[in-house]
C-alpha cells in the first residue's frame, strides 16, 4: 500500500506531467529540427509561428462556440485545428515567398537566415499581439479529466491521487500519431524521400529531377502543421498567451539540440530529456520517501536536490553534460 502510494505520487507529479510536457516540447522540437535539417537554419520564428497558428485556432474555436458547435467530451479546439493549420500554412508559405526565398536563391549562408528569422520573429510577434492582444486566453472546453485525482482516490482507496487530464491524453496520443506519420512520410513516401535527398545534397537532388521549391513548400506545410498542433495542444493544456509562446522557444531548442539537430527521433527524445530534467531534479522527495521508509527515519527536510528556482539552470546543466559526452546529441544529428 505504502509502496503503491509512493508510486502513484511519483506518477502524478513527475511521470504524467513530464510525459505531457515532454510531448509538447517534442512536437515543437520536431518542427525546429525539420527546418534545420531541410532548410538548414535554426528558425527563431518557430515559437511565434506556434503562437499565430494557435491564435487562428482560438479565434475559430470562439466562432464555433458562439455558433453552438461542440465536440462532445473533446475540446472544440480540435474541430478548429484544421483551420488553424491552414492559416499557419498560408502564413509560412507567404513568409517563405516574401522573405526566405530571396536568400535561398542568393545562396545566402544559413547564419544569415538565422538572423532573418529573428526579424520574422519580431514581425510575427507584433501581428499576434495586434490581432488577439496580450492576454491569457483559455479556450478549453469539454471534459477536463480522463480520471481526476479525487475519483482515483475513491476508486482505489489510496491516499494519493492520480490525475490524467484529457489534454494530457490527447497530447500524448497526438504526439505518437504525428511522429509515426512523419516517420512513415519521410522514409516511405516519394515526397518524404525527396525531402531527405534535398537535405542530404541540394545540388544532386536537383540533378535527380527533384523540384527544390516543392520540397521547401512541403517542409513549410509540415512545419506549419506541427507548430500549430504543438501550439494548440500546449494552449489547451495550459493557456494561450503570446509571450509564453516566445519563451517556449528556449526549451524547444534545447530539446532539439540534446536530441541531435536534424534528427526527428532525437527531437522526441530531447523533448522528454528536457521535460524530465526540469521536473525530476527539483522534485522534493520527502513525501515519496515518507511512504517508503519506516516512520522512525522519515526525512524531516524536503529532500530536494535543487530548489525550483534553478529548474531552468538544471535542465541546461544536463544539456551541457549530454553534449560533453555526446557532442552531436543523443541521436546523431546532421552535424557529423
Amino acid at each position: 500500500m505504502e509502496f503503491l502510494n509512493a508510486l502513484v505520487a511519483v506518477s502524478n507529479y513527475v511521470l504524467i506531467p513530464g510525459i505531457a510536457y515532454g510531448s509538447q516540447l517534442a512536437l515543437g522540437a520536431l518542427g525546429v529540427t525539420l527546418v534545420y535539417g531541410i532548410l538548414r537554419f535554426s528558425n527563431f520564428a518557430h515559437g511565434d509561428t506556434m503562437a499565430l497558428g494557435t491564435m487562428a485556432t482560438v479565434l475559430m474555436t470562439w466562432l464555433f462556440q458562439s455558433m453552438g458547435i461542440g465536440f462532445g467530451v473533446l475540446p472544440t479546439a480540435l474541430l478548429a485545428l484544421p483551420f488553424g493549420i491552414a492559416f499557419a500554412m498560408a502564413l509560412t508559405l507567404g513568409t517563405d515567398r516574401l522573405v526566405y526565398r530571396f536568400y535561398r536563391e542568393q545562396k545566402a549562408k544559413p547564419v544569415i537566415l538565422v538572423i532573418v528569422s529573428l526579424g520574422v520573429t519580431f514581425i510575427y510577434n507584433g501581428i499576434t499581439r495586434f490581432i488577439i492582444g496580450t492576454d491569457d486566453r483559455n479556450f478549453f472546453d469539454g471534459e477536463r479529466f480522463i480520471i481526476s485525482a479525487r475519483d482515483f482516490k475513491k476508486m482505489t482507496g489510496l491516499d494519493e491521487g492520480l490525475a490524467i487530464k484529457t489534454t494530457q491524453g490527447i497530447t500524448v496520443i497526438t504526439a505518437i500519431v504525428v511522429v509515426a506519420l512523419l516517420f512513415w512520410f519521410l522514409n516511405r513516401t516519394r515526397s518524404g524521400k525527396s525531402m531527405r535527398a534535398y537535405s542530404d545534397n541540394e545540388d544532386l537532388a536537383l540533378l535527380s529531377g527533384i523540384n527544390p521549391e516543392r520540397v521547401v513548400m512541403i517542409t513549410w506545410l509540415i512545419v506549419a502543421a506541427l507548430a500549430t498542433v504543438a501550439g494548440v495542444l500546449y494552449g489547451l493544456d495550459k493557456t494561450f498567451k503570446p509571450f509564453t509562446y516566445f519563451q517556449l522557444l528556449l526549451p524547444i531548442f534545447a530539446a532539439a539540440i540534446v536530441g541531435g539537430l536534424g534528427n526527428p527521433i532525437g527531437a522526441i527524445a530531447g523533448g522528454f530529456v528536457i521535460a524530465f530534467s526540469e521536473v525530476t531534479i527539483t522534485y522534493a522527495w520527502k513525501k515519496v520517501l515518507g511512504y517508503l521508509m519506516p516512520e522512525s527515519i522519515e526525512p524531516s527536510s524536503l529532500v530536494q536536490l535543487m530548489s525550483t528556482d534553478y529548474k531552468f539552470a538544471v535542465s541546461f546543466v544536463i544539456l551541457l553534460i549530454v553534449l560533453l559526452f555526446k557532442p552531436t546529441g543523443l541521436f546523431k544529428g546532421q552535424t557529423a
Binding site: 502524478n12 483559455n138 485525482a149 482516490k153 495550459k238 493557456t239 513525501k287 525550483t308 528556482d309 529548474k311
Partner: protein, 377 residues
C-alpha cells in the same frame, strides 16, 4: 483647443515584455481617471488633461529611462509609473529626481525603493507587503489553517510579499512547509507543483499575478489534485481568475487592499463601460495614482511638481471627505472650495511613511465563480 494651463500626465508601463498583459489595463485605468477629470473641466482653470504613454518593457532599464526622458521633454507634469521595480528605480534615480519630477507607481513594491534618495518625489499606491503579511496570517489563523505551502513569483513583489506572509504566519504559530519561487511566462509549472505537493500543507498560498505564472500554478495544482484551496493575496484577486480557472476555485480566499464603500465596485463598473477589466492586477492602483496627481494639483492650485508634491499625502489621507472612483469632479470642487478630502479611490489609498501605502484590506472568497467580499480588516 489647447491652452497654456493644460496638464499632461506621463504613463510609463511595460506595454511590451513579461507583463504586457497587465500594462494595457493599467494604462486604461490611469487614463480613465485622466479623462474623468479632463471632461469635468474643473481642474485648475478648466485645464484639459492628456495622457502620454511610454514603454518600459518592464525589464529594460535603458528603454524605460529613455521613454521617461522623452516624457520629460514633452513637458509632462507628473509620471504614473513605472510598473516593475527595476525600471521604477531606474526612472526614479535617473529621470525623476534629477528633473524634480513626481513619480507615483501603482505596482512597484520593492522595499529597497523606500530607502532610495527620492527627494520626496516618489509615491506608490500599491499596498505595503508587511501589513498584508499580517492580515493574511490573521485570516489563515482564523480559518484554522495550520500549515501552508507558499509559492511566489520570482520578482521583488513576490519575494517581498512571500517573506512577509511566511514570517507573519510563523509568528502566529503556523507552519510554512516550503517556499518555492516560480518564474512568470514560463512554459510549464509541473516541477513547482510537484515540489509544493510533496512538501504538503493545508492550502497553497500563491503570491503571484493572476494572469501570469500564478494562474498557471493554480491550474497545475488543481489538475494534479495537489491542492484544492488556495490563498490569494493581492495580485491574485480579480475576476479573470475564477473565469479562467472555473468552479474548482470556489472556496479559495484571500485579501486585497480596499475598504468599505463603493471603491472597487464603482471602479469595476466604470471600467466595464469603457471596455476593460477593472479587476486586472494594478488597474485600480493605476487609476488612483493618476487621480492623486490631479487632486494634488487642484489642492496646490498648480501643476508644477515642486508645488503640488506637498499636497499628495494631504489629499490621500484622512481627515476629509472620502472620495471614491467616479467622484473626482466632486473632489475637485471640494478642493477648490478649500474643503479637505480623503481620497480612498479604488484601492483604498492611504499613504504612510516615506511615500508608502497602507490601509484596510478587503477579505474575499471565491463563491460560485465570483469574488465575494466577506469583510474588512
Amino acid at each position: 483647443e489647447s491652452h497654456a494651463g493644460d496638464v499632461k500626465i506621463g504613463i510609463s508601463f511595460g506595454f511590451t515584455g513579461p507583463i504586457e498583459s497587465l500594462a494595457g489595463n493599467m494604462a486604461n485605468g490611469a487614463e480613465m481617471a485622466i479623462n474623468e477629470v479632463s471632461e469635468s473641466g474643473k481642474l485648475l482653470d478648466g485645464a484639459k488633461v492628456t495622457a502620454t504613454r511610454a514603454d518600459t518593457g518592464c525589464i529594460d532599464n535603458g528603454l524605460a529611462v529613455s521613454g521617461a526622458e522623452r516624457l520629460i521633454s514633452e513637458g509632462v507634469n507628473g509620471i504614473v509609473g513605472g510598473d516593475c521595480s527595476g525600471v521604477t528605480g531606474a526612472i526614479l534615480q535617473n529621470v525623476a529626481v534629477p528633473n524634480g519630477m513626481v513619480l507615483i507607481s501603482p505596482s512597484a513594491t520593492s522595499p529597497g525603493l523606500s530607502t532610495m534618495e527620492d527627494n520626496g518625489l516618489f509615491f506608490r499606491t500599491s499596498p505595503s507587503d508587511a501589513r498584508e503579511g499580517e492580515v493574511m496570517a490573521e485570516i489563515l489563523k482564523e480559518r484554522g489553517i495550520e500549515s501552508i505551502a507558499l509559492t511566489y513569483t520570482n520578482n521583488d513583489f513576490g519575494k517581498g510579499l512571500s517573506d512577509a506572509i511566511s514570517s507573519s504566519f510563523e509568528k502566529v504559530g503556523g507552519e510554512v512547509t516550503i517556499v518555492a519561487a516560480h518564474e512568470d511566462g514560463k512554459a510549464d509549472y509541473s516541477a513547482e507543483v510537484g515540489a509544493l505537493a510533496s512538501a504538503g500543507g493545508d492550502i497553497l498560498v500563491v503570491a503571484g499575478y493572476l494572469d501570469q505564472g500564478g494562474a498557471g500554478i493554480i491550474k497545475a495544482a488543481l489538475d494534479s489534485g495537489a491542492f484544492d484551496t488556495f490563498g490569494l493575496p493581492n495580485g491574485m484577486v480579480g475576476d479573470a481568475l475564477p473565469k479562467n480557472i472555473g468552479p474548482d476555485l470556489d472556496g479559495s480566499f484571500g485579501q486585497i487592499a480596499g475598504s468599505e464603500g463603493p471603491g472597487i465596485e464603482a471602479f469595476k463598473k466604470m471600467a466595464e463601460e469603457v471596455g476593460f477589466d477593472g479587476t486586472s492586477s494594478y488597474a485600480p492602483e493605476s487609476y488612483d495614482a493618476a487621480a492623486l496627481f490631479l487632486l494634488a494639483m487642484q489642492a496646490a492650485g498648480s501643476s508644477d511638481p515642486a508645488e503640488y508634491v506637498g499636497k499628495i499625502t494631504e489629499v490621500a489621507n484622512a481627515p476629509g471627505e472620502k472620495i471614491y472612483p467616479g467622484e473626482l469632479a466632486k473632489a475637485l470642487d471640494l478642493l477648490k472650495e478649500g474643503t479637505d478630502i480623503d481620497y480612498v479611490g479604488a484601492s483604498s489609498v492611504e499613504l504612510i511613511g516615506p511615500g508608502e501605502s497602507a490601509g484596510t484590506y478587503r477579505i474575499i472568497e471565491v463563491q460560485d465563480g465570483e469574488i465575494a467580499t466577506l469583510g474588512f480588516k
